[in-house]
């Protein structure tokens, strides 16, 4: 996140990172608005040009909270051939994959078919973005793996898209966002979890999205920083919903990844859930175990943006609760709050934990040999 580190970091990457890493949160972009057209029926080209995406937020273009950088992305990440940051495979290879020795890069396309009020359009866009991931990225560089984007508000349609892609080695997870029409434990989303479990694919829940609800329990805040910090609160509430609705009782083999919402809050949320559950469990008899146990068994966490307390032992104490086997390193490339792999982990980590953090956990979770 610290922009001042960036130029220096560019030069010493090759020597700093000797071993391969997994980057579990890469955001591929379209070079032009029409780049999806080959994957979309013609009626949607005209529809999009006429009516736009008709999202669960008011802006036709751009986010309601303006980002800190154009496209929320690094100013040094514009491809030389033009187009927005993250839209060129060759430049991504040159800037991210090669110098950082990325052996596995998980793509999480944003601004896609989710959070859209027209459900047919949402489904068409989700399918298109999945075909586009194969065509433009994963078929061209075997290090990259896609995430299955789904029409998030229509469970059966989403489940059909997951089943269509099941077994396709181009994809390693299903992608949802944290903010939807309802909290993510609600039954309308269960067909997604059922299909993901059946396909043996983890469900990644990336911070962001719009579902029509104010993004705090007290209405809409004023600033971009409030939205950014607030992703952790939305993610906590979404996870509480998933646990308290009994999703992991219903789908015991389901694995989920909390992406880009921090992990430092995990212990305190789990303690609160456990403490309240002890008193109110008669309301939720389907929650059979202390909530913290579901979280420990079923949840993985991407690291970016890493919490960085003043004293590193505080970070290690938090990670020890979560488990060194549950963290997945991520840069968030090409976004501005990129975590530099050579600098993100303080000194004092064992070789085994370091290897798990940077690569081993991701390969195991995503089934990459």
């Amino acid at each position: 996140m610290n922009m001042q580190f960036r130029s220096g970091a560019q030069q010493d990457n090759a020597t700093a990172i000797k071993t391969a890493i997994a980057d579990c949160d890469i955001h591929p972009a379209r070079a032009t608005a029409s780049e999806l057209h080959p994957f979309l029926a013609k009626r949607w080209h005209e529809h999009l040009a006429t009516y736009g995406k008709h999202a669960y937020q008011g802006m036709m273009e751009g986010p309601p909270y303006p980002k800190a950088q154009p496209n929320a992305s690094r100013r040094d990440a514009y491809p030389p051939e033009g187009g927005p940051q993250g839209s060129s495979l060759s430049f991504m290879q040159k800037q991210l994959l090669d110098p950082h020795n990325v052996a596995l890069g998980v793509l999480n396309p944003l601004g896609t078919g989710q959070g859209i009020r027209n459900h047919d359009l949402s489904a068409a866009l989700a399918t298109a973005i999945n075909d586009w991931q194969i065509e433009k990225w994963t078929s061209k560089d075997s290090r990259l793996k896609g995430s299955i984007v789904v029409e998030n508000e229509d469970g059966p349609t989403a489940a059909a898209e997951i089943r269509k892609r099941a077994g396709d080695p181009n994809f390693v997870q299903v992608l949802l966002l944290s903010r939807n029409v309802e909290p993510l434990g609600q039954r309308r989303y269960w067909p997604i979890y059922e299909a993901a479990q059946e396909a043996g694919l983890p469900v990644g829940v990336h911070a962001f999205g719009f579902g029509g609800n104010p993004i705090t329990a007290s209405g809409w805040p004023s600033y971009y920083i409030e939205e950014m910090v607030g992703h952790s609160q939305c993610q906590q509430t979404a996870l509480a919903s998933i646990v308290l609705e009994g999703v992991f009782e219903r789908f015991p083999k389901l694995k989920m990844v909390m992406i880009e919402a921090g992990f430092g809050w995990a212990p305190s949320l789990a303690w609160r859930l456990d403490k309240v559950w002890q008193k109110l469990r008669s309301e939720v008899p389907h929650v059979k175990r202390p909530p913290s146990e579901y979280i420990k068994d079923h949840i993985w966490w991407t690291t970016q943006p890493m919490e960085d307390p003043e004293r590193r032992e505080h970070l290690f104490q938090t990670i020890e609760w979560i488990g060194w086997d549950k963290l997945l390193f991520a840069t968030d490339y090409p976004h501005w709050d990129f975590d530099e792999p050579s600098r993100v982990l303080p000194v004092g980590v064992s070789d085994a934990n370091r290897e798990a953090f940077y690569l081993g956990n991701a390969k195991k979770l995503y089934g990459i040999a």
Binding site: A217, S222, Q233, T237, R272, V276, E307, E310
Partner: protein, 361 residues
Amino acid sequence: MTAPIAGGVDCDLHPAVPHLTSLLPYMNDYWRDQVTTRGMTDLLSQSYPTNSPITGRADWRPAKGKPGESVDDLLKHALAPFQTAFGILNPLYGVQLVFSEDMADAFCRALNDWLVKEWLDKDARLRGSIVIPAQSIEKAVAEIERCATDKRFVQVLMLVAGDMPLGKRHYWPIYATCERLGLPIGIHAGSNYHNAPTSVGWGSYHIEDYVAQAQAFQTQMTSLIVEGVFAKYPNLKMVMLESGFTWLPSYLWRLHKFWRGVRMETPWVDRPPIEIVRSNIRFSLQPVDAPPEPETLNRLFDHMQSDELLLFSTDYPHWQFDGDSALPEGLSPDLVRRIMIDNPHATYARLKDSVAKETTP
């Protein structure tokens, strides 16, 4: 358990209004008629269903009526066991839930007058919080000024989830008034349900609403800090009540990181957020959302890097602990003294005022 010391301040006690009709003597003719003619029922917020286990500890429940309804019970259950010197009463009656600002104003006035007559006048140890109709700034300020002449009111009370984030400039006249009058703002768990009770919509269960209070406190602290409330009102204190506090360290790590990254957006935030918290924001002790092992809790106190942040509370009659173990295991005697006596007195300046008044013939 850690032994309490005598002379402490319990900063979060909940006196229950038996029924809306209990407030009728404190309303004018118009509102008495409105309540009666329209057949209005009890103003119970679903943040605290009367029979929910968390709303009333089993051994604190009366044979009849709501937990927290009786002054004698409160004195016996909450003050006597801890030899408490002062108890601050935070009524959670659902007067903020109504949508009409006129009605909310009338009910808040009645509630505050009821608190004086039915509670503060009954025992010299009791202190009160002023409940305000926050959706009308003019009426809220007027009610604060009306009640503040009684020094037994030591704080203004707001809910953690209301119409707008609490840092919004809309609310600033309330903060200016409170800073001028030496009244901290107590922000208590609970929603007025004018928005969905969580940041991702309506969940299915009471337990979800309760868990989500902690996240609501987090977003409110972000709002208060980044909008610049404490830059504008540096002497204003805010107290997070029934908020939990074990989330505070990791929350501040994240806020600090983003503040460093995008502080250009809110340039008036000229100090790291943790410094603002240390100087202006406090937290009530209960609930302690942590495992019972003393080493975990002590590690958390180490993460908080301050012994001035916590204020003793039982959260009576809510069920947060059993027996007399309001203080978690493993606190040092010095920390107990700070939590029970020093920190509350440093926060609630009016406690000294009212002591001085009582000892002066």
